[in-house]
Symmetry: D4
Subunit: 256 residues, 8 copies
Amino acid sequence: MEPNKLKELLQQVKTGGCSVEQAMERLKILPFEDLGFARLDHHRHLRQGFPEVIFCEGKSIPQIEKIVSCILAMGCDLLATRCVPEVYQAVYKLDSRAVYNELGRTITIKQETRPKTGGQILVISAGTSDIPVAEEAVTTADVLGSQVERLYDVGVAGIHRLLGQESKLSGARVIVVVAGMEGALASVVGGLVDKPLIAVPTSVGYGSSFNGLAALLTMLNSCAAGVGVVNIDNGFGAGCLAHKINKLGEPDEVGV
Amino acid sequence: MEPNKLKELLQQVKTGGCSVEQAMERLKILPFEDLGFARLDHHRHLRQGFPEVIFCEGKSIPQIEKIVSCILAMGCDLLATRCVPEVYQAVYKLDSRAVYNELGRTITIKQETRPKTGGQILVISAGTSDIPVAEEAVTTADVLGSQVERLYDVGVAGIHRLLGQESKLSGARVIVVVAGMEGALASVVGGLVDKPLIAVPTSVGYGSSFNGLAALLTMLNSCAAGVGVVNIDNGFGAGCLAHKINKLGEPDEVGV
Amino acid sequence: MEPNKLKELLQQVKTGGCSVEQAMERLKILPFEDLGFARLDHHRHLRQGFPEVIFCEGKSIPQIEKIVSCILAMGCDLLATRCVPEVYQAVYKLDSRAVYNELGRTITIKQETRPKTGGQILVISAGTSDIPVAEEAVTTADVLGSQVERLYDVGVAGIHRLLGQESKLSGARVIVVVAGMEGALASVVGGLVDKPLIAVPTSVGYGSSFNGLAALLTMLNSCAAGVGVVNIDNGFGAGCLAHKINKLGEPDEVGV
Amino acid sequence: MEPNKLKELLQQVKTGGCSVEQAMERLKILPFEDLGFARLDHHRHLRQGFPEVIFCEGKSIPQIEKIVSCILAMGCDLLATRCVPEVYQAVYKLDSRAVYNELGRTITIKQETRPKTGGQILVISAGTSDIPVAEEAVTTADVLGSQVERLYDVGVAGIHRLLGQESKLSGARVIVVVAGMEGALASVVGGLVDKPLIAVPTSVGYGSSFNGLAALLTMLNSCAAGVGVVNIDNGFGAGCLAHKINKLGEPDEVGV
Amino acid sequence: MEPNKLKELLQQVKTGGCSVEQAMERLKILPFEDLGFARLDHHRHLRQGFPEVIFCEGKSIPQIEKIVSCILAMGCDLLATRCVPEVYQAVYKLDSRAVYNELGRTITIKQETRPKTGGQILVISAGTSDIPVAEEAVTTADVLGSQVERLYDVGVAGIHRLLGQESKLSGARVIVVVAGMEGALASVVGGLVDKPLIAVPTSVGYGSSFNGLAALLTMLNSCAAGVGVVNIDNGFGAGCLAHKINKLGEPDEVGV
Amino acid sequence: MEPNKLKELLQQVKTGGCSVEQAMERLKILPFEDLGFARLDHHRHLRQGFPEVIFCEGKSIPQIEKIVSCILAMGCDLLATRCVPEVYQAVYKLDSRAVYNELGRTITIKQETRPKTGGQILVISAGTSDIPVAEEAVTTADVLGSQVERLYDVGVAGIHRLLGQESKLSGARVIVVVAGMEGALASVVGGLVDKPLIAVPTSVGYGSSFNGLAALLTMLNSCAAGVGVVNIDNGFGAGCLAHKINKLGEPDEVGV
Amino acid sequence: MEPNKLKELLQQVKTGGCSVEQAMERLKILPFEDLGFARLDHHRHLRQGFPEVIFCEGKSIPQIEKIVSCILAMGCDLLATRCVPEVYQAVYKLDSRAVYNELGRTITIKQETRPKTGGQILVISAGTSDIPVAEEAVTTADVLGSQVERLYDVGVAGIHRLLGQESKLSGARVIVVVAGMEGALASVVGGLVDKPLIAVPTSVGYGSSFNGLAALLTMLNSCAAGVGVVNIDNGFGAGCLAHKINKLGEPDEVGV
Amino acid sequence: MEPNKLKELLQQVKTGGCSVEQAMERLKILPFEDLGFARLDHHRHLRQGFPEVIFCEGKSIPQIEKIVSCILAMGCDLLATRCVPEVYQAVYKLDSRAVYNELGRTITIKQETRPKTGGQILVISAGTSDIPVAEEAVTTADVLGSQVERLYDVGVAGIHRLLGQESKLSGARVIVVVAGMEGALASVVGGLVDKPLIAVPTSVGYGSSFNGLAALLTMLNSCAAGVGVVNIDNGFGAGCLAHKINKLGEPDEVGV
């Protein structure tokens, strides 16, 4: 509920336009819409600056269609993650502006005008197999309004590949490091730069990687200070956090 | 090695002031100092904006004294974490400017002039027992140059305690949430605000909290998007990351 | 063995209608029926107030049919959980009164008259994907005789969705909270109300949710007092416990 | 904030006794008191029916004294858990009415008049070493107002010890089972009775009991339906939940 | 190598029928046969009283056929475990005497004459879903020569089902308890009888049963003394150990 | 309750010496004695062939004295495990016949006449540090009436130490293998002999031995068939099970 | 970057053939090639003595084809691991010299001349099911240039199978032990020989083997000194390390 | 038993100097000495090239003195690990040649002449706190006869500290990397050099380092090929394996 609405309500109480009992009831009502299986959180758009993002894994196509339609009807931007091609086909039928990032498994539709940030997010991946998670982070940050740069396949087994990219490292405002297996890349990058760094462990690996646990623990225990870690394979969360940080550096955000 | 030094070296090669072989050797030498048991990383000051921080747990007092003396001699600021009172007494003897945060177990000595940030970091703790970790975050961010505000003991079991603090939440640029037991506070705060949020699980709890594992998993799986997690009880890491993010919002950083 | 039957037996011994040896043998015999692969526990109906519930996962359709037939023949109510559509088709052929809750994957057939409770159980779910488990709890409590209310998709990432539902919270006698991912909803609800609360972690999530472990640990470590936790995805157990508690508040149970 | 207070406030707005701006501010203020290190949650007394309970492990004696004094000053009942004898001595100095349950490590001071429930909670323990946790549950339920009965040392290795106690089992409204090692007692009791059952795993055991993990898993996987589990060694939580359930069966609660 | 063979060899050395060097070589040669992918351990028959048992999971049908043929050619009894129907069809083609226990997934062919033991092994299972593992134990003990009795579906949720079976319990020499979920049955049976008891956890369960881990820990922590535990789902190992124990009670074994 | 007592009771009912109601009450009473904190299980002596064994870890000396006195008064044999020297001194004061096995931390007092078994149990330990657990097994089996032989410090790192002991291996009826670190000794012994084998993992080791978990898993996964595993450091349980098995081979047990 | 290239560059700076700025830029450029999804690490060939090895699991066939073509074009040897038959068919179409080790799931193409080592690596496997991992180690070491000998199916359950192979053990310079289930073979071999030993746990097993965790822990805790462990199922890593060690013993490596 | 001894024995049999029965007995006797609590493995000296090493943790000082005396009497070199100062004092009294490495907690006494290797082992540690484990590796390799070089405190958070040490890296034949926290150093070093690399995780760290588990998993999942891992904190094992590998490069070992 926006402050203005609350002020207006209280003034109606004052002027008698609304009884005390009515006011009490209305104070409890919040703007969300009931789809039966999911309360779409319109309020979130005001509160968080972006409508709900659809995590498609485990949702049926009809469920996804219903949520997509509802978001589109509100005139909001759309971001759906973990989308298999069938989901894309269904969304494309609803709106042919739908863009599918096949590697990152995301679908986006832009309806709102968002100014692009001046500052840049650099998304680094350790290996080829980590790219889907990296691309999810890229698309997320991009749709939210950030400029994003990629630096892929620079794992620590060949550290010179990373060391040759110092201009990319120094040109970014925030860095996202995506790595599976032992996840050591986050520590190495964290030791090279003095920027906010978000580490994303991936489930890439086998045996004692335990589906990403090894990389997760590595990143949490990083000897480089100032590394924030998100869940295994959570490219979306990393992109989201990176954008929030990146936005802080924009001139119109200064002084907030 | 600073770019200027490198440029100078290459120019000496050009002018013959330095032979090719000498240049090759010098290109490999980096500025750190050998204390026998620890290579103090002076270079870090240039690279990361702050000298090495001393993690005192597991170090002997003579070892700590040696590192402290070395940092002080360089004219740098000092931050030592996990300090028992005996460590404070030893450091105080070396330099009576030493300030001890007993709750947060930190020692600080300021020798450098750092401008205070305009933006604010808000450090929130769930329970009384989480305060030591929260204070470690507070001192860290403070010594690095950030303005810091505290909001303690607002755990989710009495959620109204948090809901009454919206002005504090909205006044901060970055938020650090420190919580043990089930660690749910991070998700609740993350759902209320649209800011970069750093979550610190603590080892507070018993039984199936497994020394902080429960809170750690809660935070990593947070349904609120954009939460970066650090290691269990790692107040230092959180303060460090929060400061890096906070600094981005300062006017003189804009456009970087 | 019912008390009356035991009394009768001992009286037969007294009057010589039954020899001591026969009595010794009969004291050991209990009323269950051998289906070859499963001893159907008729005695349970007397002891626990409901016949055996069929957990269908891992049972073949012929096995299920045999147990269903046996329960129906006894005139008991039927509850089967974790039923795929094929199971429903098989049960429907046996008895067309069979009701399938597709979301909750349950089948029910009512043959007994059970008075509906006056008090209400409120089943709350955090996200859309938690609904199957919530529905299993709903159907279980309903078939056992409780009035049940639903409140779905009110996860803590948008806590205002929950805060607007205080009348539902205050109108219930027992509350069941179903949540996956980080499972923080149980703590938040537990902090808002003074009612018995049953928490059901679900396997919804990915990465470090470790198939529900994160939510389970969160709920066990809840800082809200008085939360009872059941197994991951165990909607049936929650519905069952909620009904037992709800029944205590019925006028005819008072004084037990 | 109580409904009456809210009504009154809105009526003041209506009558002009309070400006809109003042009302907005007051709507955000909630009744808790700042002790510096802990916000004592007075509001909780209204919301949850009991003031905050003090978990003494990890708190210093001065911290405990401060909270105790505050609770006593409010005229509330006091319950402190995990108290070593030194804590008792300190509390006794503040108020000689303090009662110490040495086995259960609890301190209680009764200042309020609470009617005793008619219904009974039965607390069952498996072994001698589980008694401290059982006693914590007993004291908690007792101070909250429940009648409590004990049945100790009836572990499943000698199941006849339990089977001889059917009258105790049938006389209770709610049952709490406290067991370490393999924790099988909860399943056995759950199979014998049709009552709400709360299971408390304890850290009693060695080797692969992994400090209570074995008992915890046993109880969560109980084949008896309707078992609610609390954290390892959490006698307080079990007593609290048992009391909430027991209260439902009281005549004056019926129809709620 | 049998003692007689060694004696003979040394005597040949004494008499010059074998040179020292030849003896040294022969002392190193042991009787096994190379199938390329598996050294069939004929020696085992002498040492362990039974030829190698074929664990079929993860072996191809041609591999299984090769091993079966080799065992049959030696005139030994055959036991194959974890056999899908396709394996049975292949073995049946090799030898139509093959007997398939579909529930227990075992194949047996008897070629040797083994006297049946007088004593009995009792195999108890908790639930219907535990029967496959129980049957693997039954077939294993049977083919090795033990008399075996079954007692199925007597889990602790309805403990009277077990208590009515005291004659079966007292008539056995060794007891095998097979249980999944919380695995409490082993402790209950262990408390009722004074016999060697072998506990087999099964992977039956869901959620926090963690594929049998819960039952395994329960059994290892059993408060009943004298319970030996085997791997999760290891009916074969239990049958094997039970037979070795059972054999000790046979008159012709006495005095060994 | 002994069969004779039951028969007598039923005959009293028949002859009118006992009313039906009295019989019903008496059928529920079982012979145990209430010590306040522990129900001493006299019945156990009849059922299990040995009175309760006292696990001293976590019990206070007055508690232990009370239980010891009670067992001695009954004329039973005494076995107490995990006894520190202070416990021994206390028990010695109660009865100077008390024998302390300092290595194995056990106290025994023999009051009953038990025939020694003809067959032998062989207790094997891998390393010096495993001896306390091995000695607990030795004392347990000895006090129960078994002949016991020791074979210590024959770990697999020097496998020839074991291979030279074949006569000891072949002379035993049951074998107990006690090993920490990687616990491989159980598999090696299991491959050499065809006897019932009980494996006891110990908590000896460091790092990834995780307090005995490594040895426990090794033993549960042993490729040698017929190995029964007990809890980490559970020498008592192993001695108990070994004795039950050993007893089966005694001439007077044959045919049971 | 090779030393010669660096020297040349600096000399160009000296002679003015390259400006300081140009030199600074070129010092950052390293020789790798951008395939879009993978930076092929040519530099690795110089640094590590072998081009990148392709881990095919999780890569699409077009991705694999692209990398294979690139390696072949450079004239390097090819090693691809975890190859299903479809991958082999695709690679075979690119180059008919491709050799498929079906058991070990590897593809190799030799284009370079590598001298075979004089010393031998012995690869030992415990069971039939461990052979795929053993073969991966064999192929890896072979393609890198080592002589390799196999000794399969000599698990500790029949330890005589191993003891008869002393000449093979003593003839090798390095030993690789591959074992699943309890993994005890590594300790036994490590106790028999004084050679560098590499242990490879496999995921062979079930239940509490936890996909290789049991074998991994066994090997890490081996009481035999000097065992280096690699990841579960990592035959490639073992072959690679074994070759590096083996090469040290070659005459032309001596004195390095 | 040495080959010569065996040959001699068989010749005695041939010539009648030893009966067949005597030979059979002597073939089973192996050279170890019984200290009561520990069979000192003299045979090991022949088989493994070094006498038994004493792991002092968990052994009493009298036990250690007894083993030390025995080793000294045999004229062997002594290596004891995990020695607190009290152990050193006791050993020093037995032999004043004892050398104590206080950091590495080792005691050594050299009695044998071992040629020093020409090749060098480089022991690298990540942080100051990892030095004790690194020193254990250094002393172990040194006493076995290897030349050892140290490179300490070069963790990846300041990767330039490592990159400046290429001559040390390239001058070594084998590298040991010792690292706690996230353990990433092993991967980075492994990517820089083409040498056998042994990784030692340490228990240095806190929170989710889980006493070294994080570093262990990192090293096992290293993306650098050819890394052999030893147990957490196992400096001894690493030194031992490094020496075995280093020895292979010595001229007199070539051709083995």
